[in-house]
Amino acid sequence: MEEYLNKSIKEIINQFPEIADSLNEYNIGCVPCGVGSCLLKDIVEIHNLLPEEEQELMARIAGVIYPDREVKIPEIKRKNEARPKEISYSPPMKKLVDEHTLIKRWVAMIPEVIKNLDVESEEGRQLVIDGIEFIRSYADKYHHAKEEEVLFKCFDEGLDIIKTMCEDHETGRAHVRAMLVALDKRDKKAVSEHLQAYQELLSEHIKKEDEILYPWMDRSFTITRVGELFAKFNEKDEEFGDVPKRCEGFINKLEGKIKLTEVVK
């Protein structure tokens, strides 16, 4: 069993597809993850399973890998004790979760934007450009900068979970670049495909951060680290001036416009 603890979860799922069902039952969302390089032994700690849940899950996984014999389940060493599942964020992490709320409001409007996509008119293209501007200014520069330049630097950046999050950021940036190229070519199909891919990517990415990554990080922070992060995030806020307010204005305006379109229909 020890050798499988040090294998990537994707490798294990590929070899034993039944294990995906067990992971899903324990709300471990590794199955659809595009990277899947986290090691099995790290997944238990990252997902904050209680010791008895860990034993049950490992026993089920061992049962799939070694169906014909009984296997001793090794105890996985943790840096931090498992704590109750109710999520309570420290103030700096709460700030990031609150920023996700505005990003989620934009992501929720993407299907409607795709439905009414018009790449031929100036007005139609401008709407997509404004959406891209929101992604670049708010989601990427303002929010992801806090993660990549401050938060992730508190951890070993070679950790698979951090690498996975950074890869998601890069994939998002690639979709944005592709949207702009497609928009320039008036390629409606490509614009809508990249918008949809961005929506799917961000929905999953935010869920992973809110429910798994941030609570895991919070469990490892000392109070000193919490204060330092809070101060550094405030410095970033000052650096960005009225960007968050302008971006919120865009979302409010777009929501109003979409609501109005629905009423007219």
Binding site: S88, S90, P91, I223, T224, V226, G227, F230, A231
Partner: protein, 156 residues
């Protein structure tokens, strides 16, 4: 009925038979790195408050918690106060505000007893932080009469 008989903060409780009587062996090192500590006496701009993680604790806590020094005080600068009995608490508000604005403290932990009157210290700290242009994370820890932590949460 005496003046304090109806008050949970002053209600008589006999804890002599509570829990085990385990004795700690060996000397517990003091983690106090400053003087004075009473909130009326401290200067909020004393060097040990600058950029520090500050512990604002109700007077009774250190007597209730067996592990107060290693578990709570270690690594922090401190001030103590009693929200029920101390006078001149407007000075307390001003000093907490000065911790934020002048000493630029890193965090504020408010450690109080479970008795209702102790909540006044947390309210005082929260109001001071709200009225300040500078914000810091506040953690509220509530301790039982037996010295156990009943709750520990971010209050701001």
């Amino acid at each position: 009925m005496t003046e304090l008989e109806g008050c949970p903060g002053a209600k008589m409780v006999d804890l002599r038979n509570e829990g085990d009587q385990e004795e700690t062996t060996g000397k517990v090192t003091s983690q106090l790195k400053q003087w004075p500590i009473q909130l009326h006496l401290i200067s909020p701009t004393a060097p040990y408050y600058e950029r520090a993680d500050v512990l604002l604790t109700a007077d009774c806590v250190a007597y209730a918690m067996g592990g107060f020094h290693p578990e709570q005080l270690k690594g922090k600068s401190i001030a103590i106060a009693c929200p029920k009995l101390d006078e001149g608490q407007d000075v307390y508000s001003a000093k907490i505000k000065s911790w934020l604005e002048d000493a630029r403290i890193n965090t504020l932990t408010v450690l109080i007893m479970q008795v209702p009157c102790c909540m006044g210290l947390l309210n005082l700290a929260q109001e001071a932080v709200q009225s300040s242009a500078v914000k810091v994370p506040i953690k509220a820890i509530i301790v039982s009469l037996q010295g156990e932590i009943l709750s520990e949460q971010w209050a701001m």
